[in-house]
């Protein structure tokens, strides 16, 4: 049974790319969200095995959304997606309970490795 992933990113391009990477590697995309608010709603709705969470998003950013998701389910597996140069925010996310992080631009191999490790 393939693992179900919730993709959170405000850029459609990134969502499409990530979706493509995931589906080609045996993951199922359970849902997509384009900001923090949507992410929390979708998380409650689809109950994914794993969330990939962009850090900078409008309305509610990734770290806030992560904190809320963790409040709902403290065992939630959330992978942060960060652009280069967002080290402090990544560290904030780790403090808030992020499982791991991947750095854009995405490298298929890295993404899959991180996901595989995260769901073990």
């Amino acid at each position: 049974m393939s693992k179900r992933v919730l993709i959170v990113d405000d850029a459609a391009f990134m969502r499409i790319k990530l979706k493509d990477i995931l589906e080609k590697n045996g993951y199922e995309v359970a849902g997509e969200a384009q900001n923090g608010n949507e992410a929390v709603e979708k998380f409650k709705e689809v109950k994914p095995d794993i969330v990939t969470m962009d850090i900078t998003m409008p309305e509610k950013d990734g770290v806030e959304a992560l904190t809320e998701i963790k409040a709902i389910d403290k065992d939630a597996i959330v992978l942060m997606c960060s652009a280069m140069g967002q080290q402090t925010m990544v560290m904030d996310a780790i403090r808030a309970g992020a499982t791991d992080f991947i750095v854009k631009p995405f490298d298929t191999e890295r993404v899959i490795k991180a996901l595989d490790k995260a769901i073990r």
Binding site: S82, Q86, Q87, V90, I94, F101, V103, K113, R120
Partner: protein, 672 residues
């Protein structure tokens, strides 16, 4: 790929520099395998090369340098020992790199196949790597990772924690080199470990990590009640981590090992330092970092040309002021004179390069040669900072290589043979350079078997070269005879029978000369004398017919009055008695086809070409003069009898005689 063409030139210049550094330092490393400084230099150079290649998009090159860098990373961390096999492999990589760079320079594609080399390098790296991984002791781990130091207060805390069921772990983590945000990666791992225990010390410190300062590895002392397996499992779900090494230890162990490590480290560091000092005073001053810029050579040449033109016009001005009694001009002319002289000196200096530029590639070559021929040779160089004109520098390399190869191949005997002769098994070849007046002497000495006049004589006779009445010195000079080779078997290294005469020719074309000193079983010394510069030479101005010519003073042995009766006709040739020898006479006007002028002031100029004297008859001597050589244009390339031309003070032009071809031309004429 971006358009990097603008940086190409810079890329190649810096790549050449870095490759030269690598070659030189790897060689030094072979002799001082423990020298951390050398390893650091090598590591940096490899790293720079990799970075540049990657930036330029030269993937093959980046890949190979990356692999080399990895190997040195292991060397640096003490995981990999320097052995001659490894050095050879590194050299092979450097050769391949050079090849790749040459291809790139030709704008060829990167077609060099590096896969086997890379896999061999990787094998070296990985085999050593797994070795340390298997070896699960504190010593091995601390060699891999650089652990923080524990303070006394830590000790107290650790010991009390140990009493209440905690275990002390030494954890080293290496993050994948290509991973971005390494500090955050480390932070992630640390926050995972934090759930299972406490950190005692961390290197780099937590503050540094927060600021994002981390290279690739970090180490911690960590207290936890969990066992090693649980900890490993817990850290394994982090991505982009290359290696996690967890070692159970205790405070007592850490304290003990750090003490002993400190002791040995300290003493060996001191030894290294003193050894280094000795070497420095012994060999050369520490290289001071000077600020330099790179200048296109043609611009320097142009500068040189302009300055010499300025000198010419200054002389003309002086002439005019003298003739017309313009005393007002004198003072400023003196000033101009001084400044132009300084300018001239300066531009000459600009063209100078240290001998080191040539020498630096030799140790590597010598090493390869010795390995190939199974000889044990110590190669010593001296006076690397002696400066020579860059033309000389760029031309002298080939002849020196030939001489060095000969010395290794024919000169130095096999170790057993040397022992039998009561000589040390290790041969010595010494290459030194030093200035002597306005010349530079390069001498190449080996302590090998020397030139045996008898062997040379026998060999010459076999080849049909007449040796009748030759002195030992003359016999030794036979090595310069075209087509002469003493090697009984022709090896790939030397002894192809072409060579020594070419060596001599090359040196002569640089206005230099080569002499041989040799004693059987003691060794051979080649002494090469070279002018400091090729652009300005001392010359003797002479008149032949109505024309003025310049003769380079370097070749002149003696100048005498000449009376017709001194010329002796022998077999349609004219000869002259000089130092008890009979030397050929050359009437310059005949060679140059200039009508003879009735002169009562004829002089004979005795010149030494190679080991032969010739007497040149000229109609009149004018005076000695420092002249600037101007090359004849390409349209006058056929004029082989002239080296070039110079402009005289009065604005007139005079040709500079190529004495060598004048003397040899005459020989051809006389035999016809």
């Amino acid at each position: 790929m971006e358009d990097n063409s603008a940086y190409r030139e810079l890329f190649f210049e810096e790549t050449d520099d870095n490759l030269a550094i690598l070659n030189q330092e790897v060689l030094r490393l072979e002799e001082n395998p423990e020298d951390k400084q050398i390893i650091d230099i090598i590591f940096r150079a490899a790293h720079t090369l990799k970075g540049m290649a990657a930036t330029m998009g030269y993937e093959t090159m980046a890949k190979l340098t990356h692999t080399v860098e990895n190997v040195f990373e292991l060397v640096k961390s003490g995981q990999l020992k320097i052995e001659s096999d490894l050095i050879s492999l590194i050299f092979e990589s450097l050769d391949t790199l050079t090849e790749i760079v040459e291809n790139l320079r030709q704008e060829d594609e990167e077609k060099v196949n590096i896969s086997s080399l890379v896999s061999r390098l990787e094998k070296v790296a990985s085999s050593e790597h797994s070795l340390t991984e298997e070896n699960d002791s504190t010593a091995a781990t601390s060699a891999t990772f650089d652990f923080p130091e524990l303070e006394e207060a830590d000790g107290v805390a650790i010991e009390s924690a140990e009493n209440s069921g905690y275990k002390l772990y030494a954890i080293g983590v290496r993050i994948e080199e290509t991973s971005m945000m390494k500090a955050a990666r480390a932070f992630l791992l640390i926050s995972k470990l934090e759930q299972l225990g406490d950190f005692v010390q961390m290197k780099p410190t937590a503050e540094a990590l927060e600021r994002g300062e981390l290279d690739e590895a970090f180490t911690v002392y960590y207290l936890s009640k969990e066992n090693k397996e649980t900890l490993l499992e817990h850290t394994e779900d982090c991505s982009e981590i290359e290696e996690v090494s967890i070692t159970a230890t205790s405070y007592a162990e850490v304290a003990a090992s750090s003490q002993s490590v400190d002791l040995t480290d300290g003493s060996s560091a001191i030894e290294e330092q003193t050894a280094g000092n000795e070497k420095q005073t012994d060999k050369k001053k520490p290289v001071a970092t000077k600020q330099t810029i790179r200048v296109d050579l043609t611009r320097l040449d142009q500068f040189m040309n302009l300055v010499s033109e300025l000198v010419i016009h200054r002389t003309r001005l002086e002439d005019m002021s003298e003739k017309n009694n313009l005393s007002d001009l004198n003072e400023s002319l003196t000033q101009v004179g001084r400044i132009t002289t300084e300018l001239q000196d300066l531009v000459l200096q600009l063209r100078m390069q240290p001998f080191n530029v040539v020498v630096q590639r030799f140790p590597r070559m010598m090493r390869d040669l010795c390995n190939e021929l199974g000889k044990d040779i110590q190669f010593v160089t001296e006076g690397e900072d002696t400066e020579l004109d860059r033309t000389v520098i760029s031309e002298i390399g080939e002849p020196l290589i030939h001489l060095l190869r000969n010395a290794v191949d024919h000169g130095i005997e096999q170790p057993e043979e040397r022992m039998a002769k009561g000589k040390p098994a290790t041969g010595t070849i010494k290459l030194s350079a030093y200035p002597e007046g306005n010349r530079v002497i390069i001498s190449l000495t080996d302590d090998g078997k020397g030139l045996d006049p008898r062997a040379l004589e026998a060999s010459a006779q076999k080849k049909g070269i007449s040796t009748e009445g030759m002195t030992d010195d003359q016999l030794r000079n036979l090595i310069f005879h075209p087509g002469f080779s003493t090697a009984e078997t022709v090896t790939g290294i030397s002894g192809r029978g072409v060579g020594m005469d070419a060596v001599r020719e090359k040196i002569m074309s640089l206005n230099g000369k080569i002499e041989t000193l040799s004693e059987v079983d003691k060794g051979t010394t080649f002494r090469i004398t070279l002018p400091l510069t090729l652009s300005i030479i001392q010359s003797l101005l002479v008149k032949v017919g109505q024309e003025t010519f310049a003769i380079p003073q370097a070749v002149i042995d003696k100048v005498n009055y000449f009376e017709e009766k001194e010329g002796i006709s022998v077999h349609q040739k004219e000869v002259y008695q000089y130092k008890g020898e009979t030397i050929p006479l050359v009437r310059v006007n005949e060679v140059l086809a200039i009508p003879k002028k009735a002169s009562d002031n004829q002089h004979i100029i005795v010149v030494l070409i190679g080991d032969k004297y010739y007497g040149l008859i000229v109609d009149e001597l004018i005076h000695q003069k420092e002249i600037v050589i101007k090359k004849l244009g390409t349209e006058l390339n056929d004029l082989s009898l002239y080296l070039g031309a110079t402009i005289l003070g009065d604005g007139g032009i005079s040709l500079i005689l190529d004495v060598t071809s004048i003397c040899t031309t005459r020989k051809v004429v006389s035999y016809v």
